[in-house]
Amino acid sequence: MNALRVEDLNVHYGTIHAVQGVSFSVNEGEIVSIVGSNGAGKSTIMWTLAGVVASSGGIVEILGSPLPSKPNEVVARGLALVPERRRLFSALTVEENLIMGAYLRKNDQKVKDEMQRCFQLFPILRERLKQRSGTLSGGEQQMLAISRALMGNPKILLLDEPTLGLAPLIVETVMETILRIRKEGMTVLLVEQNATRALEISDRGYILEAGRFLKSGPGPELARDPEIQKAYLGG
């Protein structure tokens, strides 16, 4: 079954036609990447899927039913977004950020178990638990942002530029984490500007340019495509 199905999606910001008739799907358990340059509309697609930005046309289905119109209802359907630049609750502690991630889960024991799972993925968070999240390093903040999204036990995880501004070693940690949670059954939609690594770990990839898809195909194949390498992968 399609975890996500998007058909002829259009999004306008005032007079700007940011997403122009995009169609794609993500199957359950897949990692799919959307790659493209700055301003191509990648983040807009993500915010639309999360219910924050309203589309101006097209169909979006999540796990077989139409996308609800409010973000909190989309979350309740099992979709979580880790937005660009993380957007942590910087005045809150690490622990409070994680608690917020599990806001819809009423079973305290499940929340505690989920927190333990996050500590297994990112042991450093356990040490930082009582620290204000705004004081974490960039890499730690990204780990917390991913953990916060996982706390809600989503079925679909949307990651917008999860490696932006991170040191190479941390980038590798993040990529390995994505593979690991997919192995546990997660469906992942990944947006990246610097795309070689993203395409390599993806089952399928889409190339977005000025609001439209130029090309799609298996991730590793796209990563090796000379034309794409020249245009998007810096080499």
Binding site: R87, L88, F89, M100, Y103
Partner: protein, 290 residues
């Protein structure tokens, strides 16, 4: 004399703090000064007055009724006057103008229906005083101060310890992300207004019992605004400290300098803070609040 002045200052300061807390809560979540807060305080006082005079209820029930009444009025106020602006992501100036409109409307509604008469609450406590160190201290003043302190402490615990409280602080930090955690923002904001309104109800009853009930009594929230700025807009401990400080300063100026100069002093303090310390005593230096 000194002790008596101090206690009076603390009790007025406690009422300022109760009002400032409501201001600060709404400000920190929606980022605008809710000028209708004074009108909600006034209506809360009228609710309390009606319960006390028409139904002859005791002080506890009057207070509870006023908290509930003002809380509901504050939620309705948000639903009718702010929510549509909020959903359209209107600039906070629009919300502020809408709030001023509400204040004028509600005041005139009271003029048109209840009238401009000044009303007094029945004497709940008589004029009970205790004599301490040669000065007589009103029990009402001590009670008002202690109740304000307890209520604000309770709110502080709620904001910091409960799931809903954490969600309110998360919303202060980033509204959009808060909704992406599954929080229904309309519901969360309704809770914030219910809390702010509840505190307005307490302030309204205390003001009414200490002074009188009349349509423009809500303008005393100017002082709550000053208190909130002194303490740091958006900070709950700041609202408490700012309120108490302002109450004490005002009472001492009235007693030892001149009661005519009292408000000159208060507003000078506001201006001084806005120029030299716009984040207040306890406000954070960054843009983060609560």
């Amino acid at each position: 004399m000194f002790l008596q002045t101090l206690i009076t200052g603390l009790s007025i300061g406690g009422i300022y703090a109760l009002m400032a807390v409501g201001y600060s809560l709404v400000f920190s979540v929606l980022n605008f000064s809710n000028f209708a807060h004074g009108a909600v305080i006034m209506l809360g006082a009228y609710v309390g007055l009606a319960l006390a005079t028409k139904l002859s209820l005791g002080f506890g029930l009057v207070l509870a009724g006023s908290i509930a009444g003002a809380g509901i009025i504050a939620v309705l106020n948000e639903r009718l006057a702010y929510s549509s602006l909020r959903r359209r992501k209107a600039p906070s100036l629009y919300l502020m103008i809408s709030a001023m409109g509400c204040a004028v409307f509600l005041e005139n509604l009271v003029y048109a229906t209840i009238g401009s008469r000044f009303y007094a609450f029945p004497e709940f406590f008589g004029r009970q005083v205790v004599t301490l160190g040669g000065s007589s201290i009103s029990l009402l003043d001590v009670g008002a101060f202690l109740f304000a302190l307890a209520a604000i402490l309770g709110l502080h615990l709620f904001i910091n310890r409960t799931r809903t409280g954490i969600a309110i602080r998360a919303g202060v930090s980033d509204m959009t992300m808060c909704s992406l955690m599954g929080v229904d923002l309309d519901r969360l904001i309704a809770i914030v207004f219910l809390l702010a309104g509840g505190f307005a109800g307490v302030a309204g009853v205390f003001l009414g019992v200490k002074y009188l009930v009349y349509p423009t009594m809500g303008w005393v929230t100017n002082k709550a605004y000053i208190a909130a700025v002194i303490g740091g807009l958006g900070s709950l401990p700041g609202a408490l400290v700012g309120g108490l400080l302002l109450g004490i300063v005002e009472t001492f100026v009235s007693t030892y300098v001149s009661s005519v100069l009292r408000d000159v002093f208060s507003f000078s303090m506001l201006i001084a803070f806005l120029i030299w310390r716009p984040n207040g005593l306890l406000g954070r230096d960054s843009e983060e609040k609560v």
